[in-house]
């Protein structure tokens, strides 16, 4: 159990308790946005090497969606926030 994620609700837990969904970066376009925008949102991903933000679900813990800011090369974790707070912060921006 090498990879430890510090859940804001449950504390430090092994990665086995989580399920990873994918990049948290893409912003959902408005329902009336062009098809190209929707295509980009649904299918196109950058797949960067290094630091990026991902949606993780704490399946075996608090069952909350989290946003894990981590380096996918070294797996260094820079921060974990609740996805609801992450979205609120993004809207407020």
């Amino acid at each position: 159990m090498a990879s430890l994620i510090t859940c804001p609700h449950c504390g430090t837990r092994p990665k086995e308790e989580f399920s990873i969904r994918g990049a948290a970066g893409p912003e959902r376009p408005s329902p009336t946005a062009r098809d190209e925008d929707w295509h980009r949102y649904v299918y196109v991903r950058d797949n960067p090497k290094g630091r990026y933000q991902e949606h993780w679900h704490h399946v075996a813990g608090c069952r909350r969606w989290l946003v894990v800011d981590r380096d996918n090369l070294s797996h260094e974790v820079f921060g974990v926030t609740d996805a609801a707070e992450f979205e609120r912060a993004r809207v407020a921006k």
């Binding site: 837990r13 308790e17 075996a60 813990g61 069952r63």
Partner: protein
């Protein structure tokens, strides 16, 4: 028809038939506990949490933000649900038939649990009454500290046999015994 035929416990066959004396390290299965799932409406999390802690003869177990399990060995689920009816913003569902309550205790309890629970259970890290949702023997459950060397595990009924057998296996080197408690 006896009471135990009417309410047959899922671990009935695994517990009965072994008439060993209770060791220091022991796993007790509560025969018919009341376990209620409580959700708090948005914005009422703190008031619901306070009200749950004030309920007598029952203990709230933290599952996540705005979610708890309320566990009682003495009160019936109906009685507890009635007591919670007055709490504003609390949504209550009886889970007694769907969950199994295990109590593991003894001087070696932390050594046994360290093999299958990835939560720091050191007395200084996990205070009395504290609880957490976690993987228990590879299956999601809730673990709570109820005594100096005593922990309670709430696990879904369908996972109970697997969790129970694995706990016994983990505790075999410490002579873990088992029985039913009322």
């Amino acid at each position: 028809m006896s009471f135990h035929d009417l309410y047959r416990h899922v671990l009935e066959d695994l517990v009965t038939g072994f008439s060993t004396d209770r060791n220091a390290n022991h796993l007790a299965v509560a025969r018919r506990p009341a376990i209620l799932s409580v959700l708090a409406a948005a914005g009422q999390e703190t008031s619901v949490a306070e009200a749950l802690h004030a309920v007598e003869n029952a203990a709230p177990r933290f599952c996540g933000p705005s979610e708890w399990l309320l566990v009682s060995r003495t009160l019936s689920a109906e009685h507890l649900a009635d007591a919670l009816f007055d709490i504003r913003g609390a949504l209550v569902v009886d889970q007694s038939e769907g969950k199994v309550l295990l109590s593991i205790s003894g001087p070696a309890v932390r050594t046994v649990l360290a093999k299958c629970v990835a939560v720091d259970l050191h007395p200084e890290a996990f205070a009395m009454g504290q609880s957490a949702n976690a993987l228990i023997c590879h299956l999601p459950g809730n673990i709570a500290r109820t005594g100096d060397d005593e922990f309670e595990i709430v696990t879904p009924r369908s996972f109970a046999v697997s969790v129970f057998e694995e706990l016994l296996e983990m505790g075999r080197e410490h002579g873990l015994t088992r029985n039913f408690t009322e």
